[in-house]
């Protein structure tokens, strides 16, 4: 069923508006032309944010130049969590409405999200050593982000572990939804428990405890990291759709010959 849908690019039984927009063929036609633009915007924003943060923003009063690691660490952490939220949403659509596009997206979000989580963990360790005096401590924030990394790895392995892709998609969707309970734990860990990790600096309701000349590069780098994530996932989903189409065409050709 899925294969024929992917080859024809049309869903025979159009159930709802959801299926209208979740059609892989339509996604390909919509996204492929704007991919180069997405890539250009993400590179420009990320490079601007990071160069601004590392070369032009002022050093911190307490931590000096070491605080500049935040221009990589904080955006990576935010994107890692947002990526998992996106994975959970895709899994939700996949499990209830059996969307072919949601399955594909879930499969492609995993490795990208794991990559951003890895960047967050490594940059955090490199920040922790000079400031705290330790690369790693088992406090609630660090441990919950490590759990997030393992959830990503588990999802990557599980979704590819079955001969029948539909079984893999369903099992991995359940894992992703169960793991989503970790997201509020990561966010609130620094408020609920004593942690060595600092509390929240940026607040959406009220004052952010960061000077404006350090906030701007941080926000630009964050926007850049988000765009990088979106671009990478879109490119991977496009490639996966093409791969399935190619597989379907090759199969059809082999059947005609045989």
């Amino acid at each position: 069923m899925t294969e024929t849908v992917l080859i024809s690019g049309k869903i025979s039984k159009t159930g709802s508006w959801l299926h209208h927009f979740a059609n892989p063929g339509r996604f390909l036609r919509l996204v492929q032309p704007i991919l180069p633009w997405l890539a250009a915007v993400s590179i420009i924003l990320t490079v601007t944010g990071i160069i601004w943060g590392y070369a032009f923003a002022p050093a911190d009063w307490e931590q000096g130049n070491a605080a500049r690691i935040m221009y990589v660490h904080v955006p990576a952490a935010w994107v890692a969590m947002a990526g998992y939220a996106a994975l959970a949403v895709c899994s939700f659509f996949s499990i209830i409405w059996r969307h072919p596009l949601a399955d594909l997206a879930a499969e492609e979000i995993g490795p990208v999200g794991a990559g951003f989580t890895f960047v967050c963990l490594v940059s955090g360790a490199l920040w922790g050593k000079p400031m705290w005096g330790a690369y790693w401590v088992w406090d609630a924030r660090l441990t919950s982000v490590l759990v997030l990394f393992f959830l990503y790895l588990g999802h990557i392995a599980l979704i590819r572990a079955f001969d029948n892709p539909a079984h893999g998609h369903r099992a991995a969707a359940i894992l992703a939804l169960v793991g989503a309970v970790n997201l509020p734990i990561i966010v609130f860990s620094v408020q609920w428990w004593n942690t060595l990790h600092q509390g929240n600096t940026i607040s959406f309701s009220g004052n952010s405890k960061i000077y404006i000349t350090m906030l701007y590069p941080l926000l630009i780098a964050t926007l850049g990291f988000y765009m990088c994530f979106i671009t990478l996932v879109c490119a991977r989903v496009c490639a996966a759709i093409m791969e399935k189409r190619t597989g379907g065409l090759l199969l059809a050709a082999a059947e005609r010959q045989g």
Binding site: W132, A140, W193, L196, Y211
Partner: protein, 168 residues
């Protein structure tokens, strides 16, 4: 008659509610063990046995830091406070760069029979406030804040403060 999609939706939502409730209750039950460190107040209340290793966290009390050199290695004595209670700490070795009076720290070690905390390791816990050095100096000069005594004032009082040289 409900459709299969609706059935799946209700099933997933019900599972989600149960799972969230279970996680919430578990975390509430384990909340004391999920805490990375004990404050001086809770140490005095719980009275951990001498020799039992735990982590003590708080702020280095102003005016209590004294360093002596014994056999070539520095030994620092100071008090850690949470505002209400305070505990004397000794540590032999080189302290992290961020260590200063008024700095939040986490010390790993155990109580001695004499009621002092003998630390094997001291970690610095930096604040969540980011500002250029000039702004900090300006706040100090204006008498609005001294890093030795507590956290900085609300951000709207300094976040628009002009800075002479941003590239310091």
């Amino acid at each position: 008659m409900r459709s299969r999609k609706q059935k799946r939706l209700f099933l997933v939502l019900a599972c989600g509610i149960c799972l969230s409730a279970a996680t919430g209750l578990t975390l509430a039950a384990f909340s004391s063990t999920l805490t990375y460190f004990l404050s001086p107040g809770s140490v005095l209340a719980k009275k951990p046995a001498p020799g039992l290793e735990f982590r003590l966290g708080g702020v280095v009390q102003v005016g209590t830091v004294a360093t002596t050199i014994n056999h070539g290695s520095p030994t620092t004595a100071f008090r850690v406070t949470d505002g209400t209670a305070s505990i004397p700490v000794t540590y032999t070795g080189v302290l992290p760069d961020l260590f200063r009076e008024g700095q939040g720290i986490v010390a790993i070690g155990a109580m001695t029979t004499g009621g002092t905390f003998a630390a094997d390791e001291v970690l610095a816990k930096h604040g969540s406030t980011y500002m250029p050095k000039d702004v900090e100096q300006a706040l100090r000069k204006a008498g609005k804040w001294n890093p030795k005594f507590g956290p900085p004032p609300a951000a709207d009082t300094w976040n628009t403060m002009p800075v002479k040289s941003t590239n310091s």
